[in-house]
């Protein structure tokens, strides 16, 4: 059977797009980008992380345009990103320099600087707050003022801009392997297609920009028996990470701003051979992503460790994990199933009819 080129549907598509535009405005209401930026923190963080593009303004615009559809917003931002020139690479950014707004450990109660809860939904009852239905601007401003008037200590006592790492505890005891500083230039999956076996830098890049739901689901599967990386969360830190660049021919670094970042270090028991004896040590599983996305970063740390230690289960299989967690790749492929497959389906249909006819003839 040959392919037959057909045309048609132009007017229908135009009308469909008009319907789409109408859906966004049909109630006569609108939301400006500034309001989205000010009130949709969680959405912006997720979209910036999955699109691998940090810009609250563009993420807010993408939310408005996509009517709150995360998949579509990420698609818009990835597409926009591909139109912009990459002008610089940052100097090495180390989360030890983060201005920490939240830092907790599930492994040690007493840690230098203490457990700092910061801002989190973790301590809520998760009951709908119906008072928000008719919230007024006046009430919002009053709540803001109330918070800003709360008495705080006169002087801070915790160095939040240089907070020690929890894992330094275990390193000091020799319970975690110390790795020498590796300054090898990372691979970049946005420049060169992934091949297997992958490098560590490729794995981390794909996981950090992975679809939140995909990364979390696979991390969970790893805990439920499809993997053997069972972590204790050593440290979750969220805060503002300063970014610098080095300009050609200049010695001095240039500060360009700061980004919100989540970083997770998970402790995972591992048997290692030392002087011919098997001893128990801790490996570190690493997770980090744009914005405050703690569940994703924890799941990433599980997958990072699993992929560093290949085994015969799906979560330890780099092809299985890395080829399926990307938002654009997975939603794009699933979504393409909606496109016309008339010829391939007709071909299958004809085969089935033929087989059915032959089997009926044999009866």
């Amino acid at each position: 059977m040959g392919y037959v080129a057909v045309t048609g549907g132009k007017e229908a598509i135009e009308a469909s797009l008009q319907h789409l535009s109408y859906e966004r405005v049909k109630h006569g209401k609108w939301i400006d980008v500034e309001t989205i930026k000010a009130t949709m923190r969680g959405f912006l963080d997720q979209v910036m992380s999955e699109s691998s593009l940090y810009s609250e303004n563009l993420a807010a615009l993408a939310m408005k345009q996509s009517e709150g559809n995360v998949e579509e917003a990420v698609f818009l931002l990835r597409a926009h990103r591909s139109t912009l020139p990459r002008l610089y690479y940052s100097t090495v950014t180390d989360p030890r320099d983060m201005f920490v707004h939240r830092r907790i450990s599930a492994s040690f109660k007493d840690i230098p600087g203490g457990q700092i809860l910061g801002t989190s939904h973790d301590y809520l009852h998760r009951l709908l707050d119906f008072s928000l239905v008719d919230e007024t601007e006046e009430e919002v401003l009053q709540k803001k003022a109330d918070f800003e008037e709360v008495e705080v200590p006169e002087e801070s006592s915790i160095p939040l801009e240089k907070l020690p790492k929890v894992m330094d505890y275990l390193r000091a005891e020799g319970l975690i392997n110390e790795f020498p500083v590796n300054d090898e230039e990372p691979d970049d999956v946005t420049k060169l297609s992934l091949t297997f076996p992958s490098s560590r830098s490729e794995r981390l890049q794909i996981l950090t920009r992975g679809q939140t739901g995909g990364v979390v689901s696979l991390g969970y599967a790893g805990l439920r028996g499809y993997g053997s990386s069972h972590p204790n969360v050593g440290e979750v830190r969220v805060g503002l990470q300063p970014i610098h660049v080095q300009l050609d021919g200049d010695d001095e670094e240039y500060y360009i701003g700061s980004i919100k970042l989540t970083e997770v270090e998970s402790f995972i028991p591992a048997n290692v051979s030392e002087n011919g004896k098997e001893v128990l040590e801790f490996d570190i599983g690493y997770g980090a992503c744009f914005g405050q996305n703690e569940t994703k970063a924890i799941a990433m740390s599980i997958l990072d460790h699993a992929l560093e230690n290949p085994e015969n289960t799906p979560i330890h299989d780099e092809e299985f994990v890395l080829l399926h967690v990307d938002t654009i790749e997975s939603t794009g492929f699933i979504s393409h199933l909606k496109l016309p497959h008339y010829v391939t389906f007709q071909s299958k249909l004809e085969q089935m009819r033929k087989i059915k006819k032959e089997s009926e003839a044999r009866k």
Binding site: V152, I158, E161, V245, I256, G257
Partner: protein, 140 residues
């Protein structure tokens, strides 16, 4: 004061001051725009702590401008879309490279900004400290 701190102060807390400083230079010297403000990306290279290696965590949107003042080139880079601040930072950068006399007077202004930034950061730190857990032993 080094460039990293200077740019940090102007970006974090001194937008208005940066525009005034740049304007001083524009009024007194010829400023040639080599690269008008344009949007682009900076790829962030992150140090991961498990194996101490590097990887790319993603890109950040920036606005970049390049100018020439006298014989010196200056660069202005700021996150997000902000043409005015980017241009002002480029002019200030060029002024420092050209050792213009105005930069001497700017030192006090920058020191004031540094104090202001420290004060603002201290306020944030004090507020965050309220969320520190104080464990008490339970009586059973």
């Amino acid at each position: 004061m080094n460039r990293a701190l200077r740019t940090k102060l102007l970006i974090e807390i001194g937008h208005k001051e940066a525009l005034v400083m740049a304007n001083e230079i524009v009024e007194r010297y010829e400023v040639q725009e080599i690269q008008p403000p344009r949007q682009g990306l900076t790829m962030i290279k992150l140090r991961e702590s498990a194996k101490n290696s590097l990887f790319y965590i993603g890109e950040v949107l920036i606005t970049e401008t390049k100018v020439k003042v006298g014989n010196s080139f200056g660069t202005g880079i700021v996150m997000e879309e902000n043409e005015n601040l980017s241009r002002a930072l480029a002019i200030i950068d060029a002024a420092y490279k050209e050792n213009l006399p105005e930069t001497v007077a700017w030192l006090q202004l920058l020191k004031d900004l540094e104090q202001k930034l420290q004060y603002e950061m201290e306020k944030v730190k004090c507020s965050i400290e309220r969320t520190k857990v104080h464990f008490d032993t339970m009586k059973i």
